[in-house]
Symmetry: C2
Subunit: 206 residues, 2 copies
DNA sequence: ATGGTTAAGGTACGGAACGTACCCTAATTG
DNA sequence: CAATTAGGGTACGTTCCGTACCTTAACCAT
């Protein structure tokens, strides 16, 4: 704790301004977030780590949560959607990706932030590129190929339908409080719900 | 704010103990929760309102969250599942009930608590009688009748399938941060996802 | 160049709450 | 009636957010 990380006031009085300082703060915040999670992200620590003080932070972000969200966005990474050649494989892989992410450190932070953002829908939107739409993209991609192969019904391309699987998985996380879901659950979601739903449907009996 | 709600130290030194005191605390906590939400539930206020002090509280509940959950459980009420005679009507009504509840004060508190409970799965379980199972009950009831009428496939009685609609709605709340979902969304969930999923399915084309 | 404006830095503080410690006193129990 | 248990009063340590205020460096325009 006697460390002096990134201190800048040693030698000359060179003083960062504007974008450079903003970068430094955001970088410090991101590092703190990665190390200690959102709960451990304190304004004082971020200021210290960036070698500045809280004023500089509050001039840019109105409060801790906003800074946390901004910092999180640097941690978020996107993976290209899988292409295993059949729908079931793709869907399972998408769910497994999500499962891994949520149990990863980044996922834990995302959960903290979602909890803290509570009703602030503006911030929620920033945590997922526009909430629904960006999250739906890989599902639509995967389903689009399945439709082309004749594996899935074109009606399945409705976003609400397409994302059913990931929504169920998310619910599993939220309700069970566990950072990861057993693989059985993923398989169950796919086989009991998702595939029956999107598969080409035969004529509905009257 | 000069009120003296429930003060007991006026006349005699009659002093509550055990169950009586516990009741008083829980009652005070419930009232505070209803008035100010979980964010506004402070240990000092609860103690003041119950006419006691924080010691008595901490002797019974280890922290604020636990007390909050305990207090919430007195607010929770259950409504009997609807019986409109057809599946679509029942399902829509169940969703509308949920929609109303989440936009109600109690629902707001539940959301706060779910957020605060975060990873504490033990507490989460208390917020819904065993998380999944109790929440599934009305859906199974309604679906059971539909199966008997030949409206739904028996496979739909799988809990994961049966609860798909409410899970989607819950997701809507969480992701959009809104306290209430437009009725269109409920209808869409029912018509695009739920009914196609649970309805008797014809032969699947190979 | 130079003087004025803007933004950083340092520091201290107010305020809210949680959770704890300590000691006094009423209720209960043997 | 003595001893033990549990409440009551109160104060405090801590943490951390957000703000205020002043000093000083960097930038900019004339």
């Amino acid at each position: 704790m006697a460390g002096d990380p990134m201190r800048r006031s040693g030698a000359g009085q060179t003083r960062r301004r504007g974008a450079a300082l903003e970068e430094a703060i955001l970088r410090a915040a991101t590092d703190e977030l990665a190390e200690s999670g959102y709960a451990g992200l304190t304004m004082d620590k971020v200021a210290a780590r960036a070698g500045t003080n809280k004023n500089a932070i509050y001039r840019r972000w109105p409060n801790r949560l906003t800074l946390g969200v901004a910092a999180y966005r640097r941690l978020a990474t996107t993976t290209p959607p899988p292409d295993t050649g059949d729908l079931r494989g793709d869907v399972l892989e998408l769910l497994r990706q999500a499962n891994r992410y949520w149990s990863s450190p980044s996922g834990a932070i995302l959960r903290e932030l979602l909890a803290a953002a509570g009703g602030a829908s503006e911030l929620l939107a920033q945590l997922q590129g526009r909430s629904g739409d960006a999250a739906a993209a890989p599902w639509l991609t995967v389903l689009g190929r399945a439709v082309a192969r004749g594996e899935a019904s074109p009606e399945a391309l409705h976003p609400r339908v397409a994302t059913v699987a990931i929504v169920l998985l998310r619910n599993e996380f939220v309700m069970r409080g566990a950072p990861t879901a057993p693989d059985d659950v993923l398989v169950e979601i796919v086989d009991e719900v998702y595939l029956p739903l999107v598969r080409r449907r035969g004529p509905v009996p009257t």
